[in-house]
Symmetry: C2
Subunit: 155 residues, 2 copies
DNA sequence: GTCAATAATTAGAATCATTCTAATTTTAAA
DNA sequence: TTTAAAATTAGAATGATTCTAATTATTGAC
């Protein structure tokens, strides 16, 4: 209920730093979107980010959300995750990890890697240079009937 | 130039078998689409499959290509691959493997796994049951300038 | 502080892959 | 044959994302 719902600035400094490293400005919209991403550990779609940010900042536009997500990905603060043919999802956990996607309820979950991503048993051809490795696992949250089916991505 | 360009039936038997196992019929369209997928080791988009199949069978429709690809995936003859936000691609290599995606030219390449997919260093939470593991690697084909940039997916 | 240049934001249109719909054709059984 | 189910088709609809053109905010000289 407090009127001056300012975004906490613990992250603002890191955000400003990373943005400026990429020649980008720190704006209120970018701050809000980043805050929204950090507020929950789920993997919202652009549209979900839009709705949540709009709650804090009603005048923000969808275009800005897309632009901002793109900016955050470009300056290394957010990862892009692709699960199936559904909407691209975004993740602000920058540790090496992979994604679990529940086919029952749509929930996306981070899964740690026990070793470094380096020692994966992949035989990489010499003529290919890898920049990024993405691992996604699809399955079910729990025994069928247990997970919150069809209620994906609500806040 | 030969008039009776029939699809080779080496694969037709396997196709018919797998289809019937899923309660699906073997049709000429399905045979052609499957043949098109096997003819090249690249990873065509639905649209590319459509164009190639159309060359063999001019009356086929886009809807049928989508339906057929879906049928082939459902009966375990084709894998669906998702690279970035681009069009979904399809693969008829059913071995455990991962995909390399060249960010320069759009080429998608299969990469073998040296070990089984089982012994990957992933710490799987007990309350999650995995059905499928997808690994995609993005990078560049060769030293920048060498790969056939911007000429993805041509036949 | 003013001004120009640049960056960011905005609404809405455009694009593009995919799915849906409703009508028609084919196939398999009875 | 007749009939029912399955498959195919053209085209419309959907939905995520990108593009466009106009407006607003920042920045850095001056
Ligand atoms: Mn994540
Ligand atoms: Mn493949
Ligand atoms: Zn679930
Ligand atoms: Zn390449």
């Amino acid at each position: 209920m407090s009127e001056h719902s300012k975004v906490p600035s613990v992250e603002a400094s890191e955000l400003a730093k990373k943005l400026s490293e990429s020649g980008l400005r720190l704006t209120s919209q970018r701050e809000h979107v980043f805050h929204v991403l950090r507020a929950q550990t789920d993997h919202p779609t652009a549209d979900e980010v839009y709705l949540r940010t709009k709650a804090e900042m009603p005048e923000i536009s969808m275009a800005t959300v897309y632009n901002t997500l793109d900016a955050l990905v470009r300056c290394g603060l957010v990862k892009q995750v692709n699960v199936d043919r559904a909407a691209t999802r975004f993740c602000c956990n920058m540790e090496d990890h992979c994604h679990f996607y529940c086919e029952e309820c749509g929930w996306v979950h981070d899964i740690e890697l026990s070793g470094g991503i380096r020692d994966f048993p992949i035989r990489m051809p010499r003529d290919l240079s890898a920049r990024q490795l993405d691992i996604s696992i699809r399955g079910a949250c729990r025994n069928p009937g247990d997970c919150n089916r069809k209620s994906a991505g609500s806040s």
